[in-house]
């Protein structure tokens, strides 16, 4: 229950931040858009091959006790 409240609180906070303080989204970025060509290279993608990374998470979750927080790698599935 505490986790639910915390997450709902975080959601409310982010919504508030985005709507009431829209100027925050206009903060001058210290990495300019024209400086992001390396970050936009496909080899920097957080999840370059989703079909493959999802399968590897599946393999590990079936054989290890730990699970979750795989993030953009395609894991963190809603199951066992």
């Amino acid at each position: 229950m505490i986790k639910k409240i915390l997450l709902l609180g975080a959601l409310a906070f982010i919504t508030l931040l985005n709507t009431a303080c829209s100027s925050l989204t206009e903060i001058e970025p210290w990495v300019k858009p024209y400086e992001r060509q390396n970050l936009a290279d496909p080899i920097m993608s957080a999840n370059r091959d989703p079909i493959s990374s999802a399968y590897m998470h599946h393999v590990y979750q079936a054989r290890e006790g730990a699970k979750g927080a795989e993030g953009g790698g395609g894991g963190g599935c809603g199951c066992n």
Binding site: L7, L39, I51, S52, A54, Y60, G71, G74, C79, N80
Partner: protein, 378 residues
Amino acid sequence: MIKQLSCLSLLTLSLNLSAAVLPEDRADVMYHSYDGGGVTIDGPSLLVRKDFASTVSVSGNYYVDNVSSASIDVETSGASKYTEERTEYSVTADYLYDKAILSAGYTSSDENDYEAETVYFGISQDFFGDLTTVTLGYAVGDDTVMQNGNDNLQEDVDRQNYRFGISQIATPNLMLNFNYEAITEEGYLNNPYRSYRYIDPSNSANYLSATEVYPDTRTTDAAAFGGKYFLPYRAVVSANYRYFTDDWDIDAHTLTLGYTHPLKGGWILDFTYRYYQQESAYFYSDLHEFAAVDEKDFRARDKELSEFTTQTLGFGVSYEFQLGNSDTFDKSSINLQYDFIQFDYDNFRDIRGDEAIGEEPLYDFDADVIRLFFSVWY
């Protein structure tokens, strides 16, 4: 039953941690294979994604596990080698609105003694000149556990996932990310086919077996921190560390290192190393002293709940090329990825020999994991 294999991980493919842009239109068809510890699992997977009006992206996935098992668990329980099949379908939809992506998905997994359904919702929002991306996710799962040969067993598992993620552009060459996920599970968390062993009270040189007894709730927490760095000669190094803990007293550490190296002519090489170590659940023992006295006296001998280490060495090669007319297809690639996984158990023994009880050799095995897939972007 492939209890743990009823994973519905493809739901989260729609999570985009880099910026408020929809995922690319692409299709992937893959053959996957796992071979280790007496278990072979293979099958196809097909993933297709397409956007509409540049604001909605829809994906669908079809996935099959064909399992053939004569694992140490099967052998020591006296069962014979078996085969089974699991089929999974997923659909997801992502809606782009300004700097946010709203996501939803549904997955259904079906096998003859286990059914699972999961619904997923998520939101991803960019902040601070698109340098920061925050994601929140919630998933709810409803599983039904059955047992072949026992029509009376039909139990439920309810599962809820809460996710939080943040991705941060730190420099023109460095991307950092943090992810947290809590999972609560309630219901029949046992594997109905699995037994624990305990010392025979009438003959201490012998042991007896009984069906495992698990708690009916489990709460897990996992937090991961990582980064990717673009090297000056167009290559990428990455690192990720995850800490996991749960109320069954399993603590686990995962460290993953990666290196990606493109070559001329469309070739890309990938190397990974992964180290994983976990402590036992508090009710795990390789050899229990007594039988459980009631349904709250938990007993397990599932090696996934024991103390062990895994190490993975991975290698991938990818070749990009132009398929047909460039007006129809942007690019395509063929990919082969191979992982060698070594499992070393610290308190799970191989009881297939004739050694005295409690003095059997510790168990270990190796696994080969292959993914061969073809991708096309359009």
